[in-house]
């Protein structure tokens, strides 16, 4: 029997982790196997078969299960390929921001002194600016493209990690097992890697999963304003922007991508929520309060 650490066992037992994690995994698989799953090529147009309704309505047909958009492209295929963009942005941006944010947080939290001051000021400057505006300006500066979107999200959201992880590092550094490790002969690097990082990792995973949801939303906002990916790339935000013109005649064209975003953000939040509950030491006390 592999000896799971109590935290890991508690995580897997938490229903939210199973549901959120399962949903997120499903989304990642859909994104990965998009070419196999999608019935049609997302870019393939059929100008004679535009704005067809979903299959279950009167004049819908099963070959185009969710109907077609204003150019006769299959909405289901675009939804599936849209997952590719969303998941790529979500995973790469979230982990990128997590990496940058937590490394700086470790330095700031463990060493303190002027690095802490500088990183603190950088976080203050970032926090004095609505993130949506900053990402828009960055996109204007960088120009369109998926990699630019990911870079913009990382530049905007690393402070979200830095702030939270730094306070957690400060809490851990107060614990006696840090000086104890030093006394056991650990070098500063060993202390950080072997003692602090494992203590911070569960919280980091929680933040990463929530950040995946945020990244999907930011990408949707950018492509909604027209500053995100190239038009040939089927992204949910682009689908929403296009479908808005035909909101009255073909509302499903709008509702489908909105659902896409909703499901992926929901999966991220539920997973994050589950991880936070299983990681949160105070939870046991809290259950005693329920009376």
């Amino acid at each position: 029997m592999i000896r799971l650490s109590p935290t890991l066992r508690r995580c897997l037992a938490e229903p939210r982790v199973r549901v959120g994690g399962g949903l997120m995994l499903a989304l990642l698989l859909v994104a990965l196997f998009a070419p196999v799953l999608a019935p049609h090529n997302p870019g393939e147009q059929d100008l004679l078969h535009t704005l067809a309704p979903p299959a279950w309505t009167a004049d819908g047909e099963w070959s185009f299960a969710l109907g077609t958009d204003s150019l006769g492209r299959d909405i289901l295929s675009r939804l599936i390929y849209g997952a590719r963009v969303a998941m790529r942005v979500a995973t790469v941006a979230a982990f990128g921001a997590a990496l940058v944010g937590s490394v700086l947080a470790l330095i700031a939290g463990y060493y303190g002194g002027w690095p802490d001051w500088i990183i603190g000021r950088a976080v203050d400057v970032w926090m004095s600016f609505p993130p949506v505006i900053l990402s828009l300006i960055l996109m204007v500066g960088f120009g369109a493209g998926l990699n630019n979107v990911i870079l913009a999200i990382i530049i905007v959201d690393w402070t979200r990690f830095c702030r939270v992880v730094r306070s957690e590092v400060l809490a851990v550094v107060k614990r006696d097992y840090i000086p104890a490790a030093r006394l056991a002969g650990f070098s500063h690097l060993q202390v950080v890697l072997k003692e602090i990082v494992p203590a911070v990792t569960p919280l980091l995973l929680t933040l990463v999963s929530i950040e995946m949801g945020i990244a999907v939303v930011v990408e949707a906002i950018l492509s909604f304003v027209g500053l995100s990916v190239e038009p040939s790339v089927p992204a949910w935000g682009v689908m929403i922007a296009d479908a808005r013109q035909y909101m009255y005649e073909a509302p499903w064209g709008l509702i489908v991508p909105v659902l896409g975003i909703f499901v992926s953000v929901l999966a991220a939040n539920v997973l994050g929520d589950g991880l936070r509950r299983s990681v949160d030491p105070r939870l046991a006390q809290r259950l005693a309060v329920i009376r």
Binding site: F129, L136, I221, M247, V258, F262, R282
Partner: protein, 338 residues
């Protein structure tokens, strides 16, 4: 670090100036990363190449970035934020005309969000341990998973078009005109004593403000509920119970005041972010606020206007952070001067 209210305001102002400088440099440089030619948009069809070069020189776009920044900073020193390339009007005029709309929208959205958030938070805590709590928790995750601008669209689809209950275009009914004194329509209509106009403005604010509120409510609800849990674990709550105080008094007099602390700081952060949220909501509901202005400016590479609005956003968020910190100080005596 113990400090008085004025100490905070004083310190914040000191910090504000360098922050604004850093943000302005950041925005200034990022906008000029790509050789986007801001002048391209505004030339008559029969303009010649020579005329274009001359205009580029007049506007100073051919000079190196640091020089351009110095000129721009000099102008700001004199209170002139430059002129918008696409609107040919001074940036400060444009922003002053648009700012009240956004402030009014955020004020209503924020108030709605806070009231709903605190109400649901306390309610959910009161239902702790029951099935209702699970449902409310699930509900909060669902609401949290839909960003403001999608709520804006869904509300239009649902309440604006489907059920035709609420308007979703502009700030007031087309037929009504109200003399704009403050720019805050809710106030102007009251000054004008025009009740139907006031109602129309409220009606027009309903959907956009509610979309913004839905972005904030679940967050406040969850933070308040978890900090209430943290507070109820404390000894002074148990002792209050042993002193024979009723559960209601304990919740309202003792627990809520302590649980308010983390909630206030969350509201501060989220209020700043809400201004980002208004960007899209204003576009979708055609509210002529600075969000709308910013989207137009971004689409047309109108650099002076983008820089001007960016600074305004920064000032707003800095003011908000100061207000929250002072409020936090009022609530938490530990920080106050002995």
């Amino acid at each position: 670090m113990i400090e008085s209210g004025f100490g905070i305001v004083y310190r914040r102002c000191l910090v504000a100036v360098p922050t604004l400088l850093v943000v302005s440099v950041l925005v200034f440089v990022v906008l000029r990363l790509l050789p986007a030619d801001p002048l391209a948009m505004s030339l008559p069809p029969n303009a010649t190449q020579a005329e274009m070069e001359e205009m580029r020189h007049d506007m100073g776009f051919d000079r190196p970035i640091p020089v351009q920044y110095a000129i721009w900073l000099g102008q700001i020193g004199r209170g002139d934020f430059g002129t918008s390339i696409q609107f040919r009007r001074s940036v400060s005029d444009l922003i002053l005309a648009a700012l009240p709309t956004t402030l009014e929208l955020v004020a209503v959205g924020l108030t709605l969000g806070i009231l709903l958030g605190i109400g649901c938070g306390v309610l959910m805590f009161a239902w702790r341990g029951t099935a209702k709590e699970q449902i409310a928790d699930l509900g909060s995750v669902v609401v949290m998973s839909i960003p403001e601008f999608l709520w804006a669209i869904l509300l239009i689809l649902g309440l604006g078009v489907g059920v035709r209950m609420l308007p979703f275009i502009g700030r007031i009914d087309a037929q009504m005109t109200v003399p704009t004194t403050t720019g805050f329509l809710l106030i102007d209509t009251l000054i004008a004593g025009n009740l139907p106009a006031f109602l129309s403005v409220l009606e027009h604010l309903a959907l956009p403000a509610f979309s913004l509120a839905l972005g904030l409510t679940p967050l406040i609800m969850r933070v308040l509920r978890s900090s209430l849990f943290d507070t109820y674990v404390e000894d002074y709550i148990a002792l209050a119970r042993l002193r024979g105080l009723s559960e209601r008094r304990i919740l309202l007099r003792h627990a809520l005041k302590n649980a308010a602390l983390p909630t206030v700081s969350l509201i501060g952060v989220q209020a700043g972010f809400m201004f980002g949220g208004t960007l899209l909501v204003e576009v979708i509901y055609t509210f002529p606020g600075i969000g709308n202005l910013m989207v137009q400016a971004l689409r047309n590479h109108d650099l002076p206007l983008i820089q001007g609005i960016a600074l305004v956003y920064c000032v707003i968020v800095l003011v908000l952070n100061t207000v929250v910190e002072v409020a936090y100080l009022r609530l938490n005596p530990k920080l106050r001067k002995a």
